[in-house]
């Protein structure tokens, strides 16, 4: 049986020392080991950004796609092999900027995949431009007079779009992140874990300390029930999106794969592709 070390590889991440993404990498590895997964049963599909490199840093199957397209790529993979554990991952720009369209539709479709966003409220890889989650007023290269746009709240958006599993983590709390990732993988349907994963190089506002001072941990909130949609929305609004923990889960929705009419129960990678002659004959009749 695979252990934690089996999910590690020899590659040294090219992240800056102190980057929040190291914790996400470690949390994914721990969660997979804790779930008794074998490395070959898992595929990580990522986008482009500092965060997007993560698919190469965990010893599983990995596909590093193009900017913003980890979700459709991951959904295609899941359709080809429904028995794989598919994790999509990337940054806030990747997922909520260029790839936002795909995010909303992945939520609607509800395939059984787990999406981990490393949200540093900045474009890291392209050296510090503002991102869709950058706060209003934030002064970076592309906002010399302060950001005049409003920040997107990924959790609020996800809830509005009808997500079936929603969580938010923070790179400083790896234990919580591990349990959130485990729960998300076990959830049957689409799950988002938005992780506050500080960029120590380009975001001097949303630092580890800043998050520590500002986030509210719902997992520790007395009486909080993650199956209560209205309560989830209220918490997000009350704390301006700065909550962590399992925010919302709907266990009643069937994943997309379960609802496809007559969909094969096996992976499509090794099925017999020869079209049965009776099916072909019946199809030809329609053109007689």
């Amino acid at each position: 049986m695979a252990t934690l070390k089996d999910f590690r590889n020899e590659i040294r991440p090219n992240w800056c020392p102190g980057c929040g993404d190291f914790s996400v990498q470690a949390a994914i590895q721990r969660a997979l080991a804790a779930l008794n997964k074998e490395p070959h049963e898992v595929a990580i599909v990522s986008g482009i950004g500092c965060s997007g490199r993560i698919s190469g840093y965990v010893n599983t199957y990995g596909f590093h796609a193009v900017h913003g397209r980890s979700l459709p790529t991951a959904q295609g993979l899941k359709l080809a092999n429904r028995h794989l554990t598919v994790i999509a991952a990337g940054g806030d720009g990747d997922g909520f900027g260029i790839g936002l369209n795909h995010f909303i539709h992945a939520v609607r479709r509800n395939m059984d995949i787990t999406y981990i966003v490393m949200d540093n409220q900045i474009y890291g890889l392209t050296k510090g431009q503002h991102s869709p989650t950058s706060a209003t007023g934030m002064q970076v290269k592309t906002t010399p007079h302060g950001n005049i746009e409003q920040a997107l709240k990924p959790t609020q958006l996800a809830l509005a779009a009808g997500i079936s599993f929603l969580a938010q983590g923070f790179s400083s709390d790896v234990n919580q992140l591990v349990s959130l990732i485990q729960a998300a993988i076990q959830h049957r349907g689409f799950s988002l874990i938005n992780v506050f994963s500080p960029c120590v190089t380009y975001n001097k506002i949303n630092t580890y300390e800043w998050y520590k001072d500002n986030v509210v941990n719902l997992d520790k909130l007395e009486g909080y029930q993650p199956n209560d949609y209205a309560a989830a929305m209220n918490q997000i609004r009350e704390h301006d999106g700065l909550v962590t923990g399992l925010i919302y889960q709907d266990t009643n929705r069937a994943p997309y794969e379960d609802s496809i009419h007559n969909y094969a129960s096996d992976s499509l990678s090794h099925v017999d592709l020869q079209l049965p002659s009776d099916v072909f004959a019946a199809a030809l009749k329609e053109f007689a």
Partner: protein, 581 residues
């Protein structure tokens, strides 16, 4: 006795023009005639003029003709727009209800189509009345339509079937009464050979199914949507899935993900979608993930002419996506070829691990036509180099599979995720043999060469076909649905004593330079026929260095309508004339 004629029905979109045309065409196809239909429609659902033109012949003509013998008009607009193409003495059957007026060169039969339909049970059966009138004119027994009417209306009950039959009979009787006997255009009897009746899109869908496609991801667009709609019905019979995605970028990347996962996956679009897919097509090339993309060309650029014929995406398909990747482009000409092209496309994609673009055009995609019987025997499935899990049993977890192993052929075996012992990384970033990002110069060069080597010097079998006299001085080069018009132009020219040959491009990339050099050996005059404004195929001849001593000219058409046989023949004749002076 006629061996060939053209029949057209026109009216407002949504008033049964399409079903009238289709009933007529199917019925005649079943008699053994070769039938070719072309639909003129616009980008709206109700209203606006539309028409269906049907060619009926004893020879396999795959083009519409310039003129029309019989025109059925449901409104005056149809007459105003189409009567000019009626040949001298051509027959116009119009609904008396709108008090039709017609130009002098045609014979107008004003028949109470609507009234007779109402007498048979309902005004909507005016199409049956008009079919009955046509049937009489062609000297065909009404029974020719019985079977088709039975099939079409069986679901609605016996009464509806018999009412439609009655409307048909009333139409024939009315035509006789109006003096139709004097103008009968009796068709020579066909031999009763049974053929299929389908459009290119039908054949692409069926071809994908036969080729083992299991995942289709696509976004609706004219004239591609039929393929998705067809497979949504059919995929459940083979346990596959069709996803209507949020856009074409998702369609293409979902296709890549599914193919990486080991399924045969494809997408289908038209020009605007192809543009959106470009970045991801590069990802497919760079990660050596096999993909199949159908591009059913329509009028461009931008939204262009969404419901009209054009062939202007060739250069985009060949050269689109930034950077350099190996790519294959297939250009079938007929529904028969669309059917086999899909298996070819998947086999080539998986053999060379690259994107394969199958290009049709609106005319090929949407023209329903007599199609020779299709057989599964012509389909072979070759998944290319895939390492079996049995070969990976002893591999330790920490070992990375060399997914991009440098080989002589440039092709490196794939392994599908989920396979123990096959762990590896895939990235659109330049990478080492094991798939890890690597920006080193020596690695870059080796990897670039490995990828490009896969198709280096390759010319695919049957990239071109040759027709007509091989030593003719005049060669007409065509692509896609122009096939039929060129074949027929050869016939027209031959009747006038002009020998020409027809060379058709069926596989555009790798560009068949050697085959074309040979085909052009004796040519003094080469006419490149294409539905675009800039002569894209002609430019490719130069780009790829095709050698010929002949003069290369273009016949171009970019007004949104198909190229007609007579236009090509006249162009050649004009040129011959110029030579003689």
């Amino acid at each position: 006795m006629l061996s060939e004629l053209s029949w057209k029905v026109g009216g407002q979109q949504g008033e049964g023009v399409e079903s009238t045309g289709e009933t007529f065409a199917i019925a005649l196809n079943r008699q053994g005639y070769f039938v070719y239909s072309f639909r003129h429609f616009s980008s709206r659902i109700k209203g606006g003029h539309s028409n269906d033109k049907v060619r009926v012949s004893l020879k396999p003509y795959r083009a519409i003709a310039s003129r029309t013998n019989i025109l059925l008009a449901f409104d005056q607009e149809t007459i105003d727009l189409n009567a000019k193409e009626l040949c001298d003495g051509g027959i116009l059957i119009a609904d008396e209800k709108f008090k039709p007026t017609a130009p002098n060169h045609v014979q107008l039969f004003s028949i109470p189509l609507t009234q007779l339909a109402e007498e048979s049970g309902s005004a909507i059966m005016k199409n049956m009345v008009s079919l009955g009138a046509s049937c009489y004119l062609l000297g065909l027994p009404l029974q020719v339509f019985e079977e088709v009417i039975e099939e079409r209306f069986r679901r609605k009950g016996d009464k509806v079937v018999s009412q439609n039959m009655e409307a048909l009979a009333r139409g024939a009787a009315a035509m006789e009464q109006a003096g139709g006997a004097a103008v009968k255009l009796s068709l020579a009897k066909a031999d009763g050979t049974r053929r299929l009746f389908m459009m290119g899109n039908d054949a692409l869908g069926l071809g994908a199914l036969a080729a083992g496609a299991r995942v289709m991801a696509a976004y609706p667009i004219t004239p591609a949507s039929d393929v998705m709609e067809y497979l949504i019905k059919k995929m459940p019979t083979v346990g596959g899935v069709v996803v209507q995605t949020e856009d074409e970028i998702a369609a293409m990347t979902m296709t890549i993900g599914a193919s990486y996962g080991g399924a045969r996956a494809f997408t289908c679009t038209s020009g605007p979608g192809l543009s959106l897919m470009m970045e991801a097509i590069g990802l497919s090339g760079m990660t050596e993930t096999p993909t199949v993309i159908i591009d059913t060309q329509r009028g461009g650029p931008s939204t262009g002419l969404p419901t009209k014929q054009e062939q202007s995406d060739f250069l985009a398909a060949l050269f689109g996506t930034h950077g350099e990747i190996p790519k294959i482009v297939l250009t079938p000409a007929t529904p028969e070829e669309c059917f086999t092209a899909m298996a070819d496309a998947f086999n080539l994609a998986e053999t060379y691990q690259c994107p394969v673009i199958v290009m049709t055009d609106l005319q090929l995609s949407l023209s329903k036509q007599s199609t020779e019987p299709l057989s599964l025997d012509s389909i072979r499935i070759d998944r290319g180099a895939v390492t079996a899990s049995s070969d990976l049993k002893e591999v330790p977890i920490t070992t990375q599979f060399d997914r991009y192993k440098v080989t002589d052929s440039g092709v490196s075996p794939r392994v599908f995720p989920g396979t123990p012992g096959g762990l590896h990384h895939v990235t659109g970033v330049e990478h080492s043999e094991n798939g890890r990002p690597n920006e080193g110069t020596a690695n870059r060069q080796a990897m670039m060469e490995k990828r490009m080597r896969k198709l280096d010097g390759v010319e695919l079998d049957e990239s071109i076909s040759r027709h007509g006299s091989a030593d003719a001085k005049v060669v007409i080069l065509g692509i896609g649905s122009n096939y039929g018009a060129i074949e027929e132009a050869l016939d027209i020219l031959q009747e006038e004593g002009i020998a020409a040959s027809h060379v058709h491009l069926h596989k555009l990339l790798p560009f068949p330079v050697r085959a074309l050099n040979e085909a052009f050996q004796n040519a003094e005059e080469i006419l490149v026929v294409e539905n675009n404004a800039t002569g894209q195929i002609r430019h490719l001849l130069g780009f790829f260095g095709v050698k010929t001593a002949g003069t290369i000219r273009s016949y171009l058409k970019y007004d949104g309508s198909p190229i007609l046989p007579l236009e090509i023949a006249n162009d050649i004749k004009g040129r011959m004339h110029a030579w003689q002076h």
